[in-house]
Structure formats: C-alpha cells, structure tokens
Point group: C2
Chain length 112, copies 2
Amino acid sequence: MDKMILDGRIWIQTESGPFLGYGRVELLEKIGDLGSLRKAASEMKISYRQAWDFIDQMNKRCDKPLVEMGRGGKGGGGALLTEEGHRAIKLFRSVDSEFQKFVERMNKKINK
Amino acid sequence: MDKMILDGRIWIQTESGPFLGYGRVELLEKIGDLGSLRKAASEMKISYRQAWDFIDQMNKRCDKPLVEMGRGGKGGGGALLTEEGHRAIKLFRSVDSEFQKFVERMNKKINK
C-alpha cells in the first residue's frame, strides 16, 4: 500500500477555553516582529477585530497580559509583546517541537 | 494563572489523502461489532452514504479492503471487517495510545 503519513495538531487550553494554538502563537510572533496588531493581522490575513479578540482572550487567561495594546485610530494600534508573551511562545514552540519529534518517530514505526 | 491543558489530535493519511482518524477508526470498530454498515452509521449519527464513502475511500488506499461490503437493499447492507481492517484499527489505536502518553507527559511538564 501507499506510504502512511502520520500528522496531527496540538493546542493548549485553560479551563476557560482555548489559549495557545498554531494560529495564536504565530500572531504573537508577528506582533513581536512588527510591533503592531494591525500589521500582524494583515500578514495573517485575518481581520483586525479577530486578531484583537484572540489577544484579548489570551490576555484574560493569564495573570499578566501577553500583549500590551495601544489605542487604535490614526497613528495608533501599536502592540507590545510582553515578557509573558515571549514566555508563552517559547512554551508552545518547545511542546510542538517535542510533538514533531514524536510524529517523526511514529512515522518511522508505522512504515517499518 | 489557570492550569494549562495540552490537547491534540492525530491522523494518518497516504499520498492520496485521508486514511485513518478518530471517526474513521470508530466506524471500523462499530462495523466489527455490529456487522452492518447501516447500524454502524446510525450509531455514529452519520448518514449511510457518508459511512459508505469513508469505507470506500479507506478501501481504495489499501492493497486489500478493510471492510467487505455486501449489497444494500432490503435484508442487505451487511459489512465484514477484514483482517486488514482489524490491523488498521490496531495500528491507529497503538499510535494514539503513544500520543496520549505524550500528551500526559507534556501536561505534567507545562504545569510544573
């Protein structure tokens, strides 16, 4: 039969609901790079409103905000990735890296 | 902050597309238990047609069919899980069991 390919996804939630997933973490990373929620949303091809909602939700699920958001409007919309935000990215990427290793290991196993 | 909960899903595909996932494997298991595609579809609350398509697709991605399907119609619709089908279930469940252990290990790690 054809070669089998194992794949999958992981995410982190809290008891209140979704917290970190591939999309949310990419959004945090882009905010870190661009310093702007509007630019980050645009690069991810999601609406400003959706990006804002994601960040607002993530911030509410933490003691300290992951992103500090400036005011909107002309010349506004700046967004700062906090230390807590950097930590969240690092946590998710490290768990995902372990997951990718798991997937690789299993792919070898199922095609032996 | 709230306790973080890592979760995820895995699936197996071939180069032609989807092959085994949680729903498909549950369908195979129910066919094994019930000997009927119609009853299996009904227990899973999916249409007969959808169940048939899933099985047809899985069968086409293997050298040997996972399920041998009888004719439809009155008194028909019997379905037999083949040895290949049993093997596919076992493979997926064993990979998923490793994945669940991975998730458990990571959940301890991220909440330390």
